[in-house]
Amino acid sequence: MILTRTGDGSSVQMTPDELRHDLVEGSEAAATKAKIPALIESDLDYLHDMFACPSRVWGVERGHEAVMTKDGGTNTLVSSRLSCGIAAPVGREAAVRLFERAFGFDSMEVGHVDYSVKPSKFIVSLEQEHMELLQHTTILPLFYGFMPNLGLYYRPDGQFANPSDLLPRGKIDEARRAQEEALEACCEDVVWQSEKFTETGADAINFDTVASTGDAEFLATLRACERVSSTTDMPVQVSMASEMVLGFHGQLEYDGTRLAGLWPHQQMKLVEKAGASIFGPVVNNNSRKSCAWNVARAVTFVKACTAEATIPIHANVGGGVGGVPMCEVSPLDIVSRAGAAMIEVGKADGL
């Protein structure tokens, strides 16, 4: 019997046949949904050997190491529940340096604890100050990261009518107009914030959890990415929120492509057109399925991206995405396997 886990982190025992069945079924689930190729036999053999191995930790073959980028800034150290934070008694400057030297990260982020563009705009001078100071004491590429988070632009948090209130009342046109107005404001804020960090010496910008509120937010981000990448030399990373773009508006397009319903390999093409330097696809977890099922499914989506990408693909591998279980303390046995699978089978350029 093989000791592994389910998508909620619980331990479970599986026979080799059950494991193989889940790997095949998980991959085919992705292939059917997104109309992409399923994993080939050699990929499934690798995943099977990986999950069947009793070792707690799994890694990539020497020489196959990839690059890591970060989201959420230093929240893992300095916050409480955000990014499973441990509320360590350190400031952001010390935290970034710990990530560089103690944890060995390849790149790092400065980001507001309230990690959205709308709240971080108000304290941009503090954010800039920390970025400038940290650039003097760190060597790794230092990003500034934030979420466009269009949801904060709707009432009660923002000034625009909330489509979540309008849609249940059948006010579809009004809901669409509200999203169209809000995305313009969001786009302007994202560009403004990006320009602030271009002048301040950030090495790159990370637009994180993009399309968390659906196609309007994706459009705001693509437009912002296009403006930033065409008017500055600032590299832009676009990291998604979920595997499919929710069609909350349903009719929005970018470069002639409707945004609602796009899968990762389709999102990637638009992100490339918008001038981004790195794309971070997300694949959601099914907590009722085994981790093997989830990893096979996630890797299938990512492999479809890397097969056609012209820019680096940094697959999101974290709580509830990329095959990692949805639980507060991510189990190392699955995190190491999901990460390795993304690189060895998914051919990701990084995580």
Binding site: R62, T137, D203, T310, I311
Partner: protein, 85 residues
């Protein structure tokens, strides 16, 4: 190099070539500790006298012949010539 849109294999080959090491050596911490000290581009441990922070980053930009935004800001502040976009 990935910030300049290079896929992983291309980025590794580029950096390995610039450093005069093999691609396999890039992820060998034993090899790279010596390489990084020889080129004075920053090491993980705390060693007095070696380049740190922006010093190391500026040396990396020159060694790899790439434009790094934070280094360009430093050059601007010092009145030095900046790299073209």
């Amino acid at each position: 190099m990935q910030l300049r849109k290079m896929r992983l294999d291309e980025a590794k080959a580029y950096v390995a070539d610039k450093l005069g090491v093999s691609v396999l050596d890039l992820s060998d911490s034993t090899v790279m500790r010596t390489v990084r000290e020889e080129f004075d581009i920053g090491v993980v441990t705390a060693v007095p006298g070696l380049a740190k922070g922006l010093e190391a980053k500026a040396r990396i930009a020159d060694l790899l012949d790439i434009r790094i935004n934070s280094v360009e800001r430093l050059r601007g502040k010092m009145g030095l010539t900046t790299k073209g976009v």
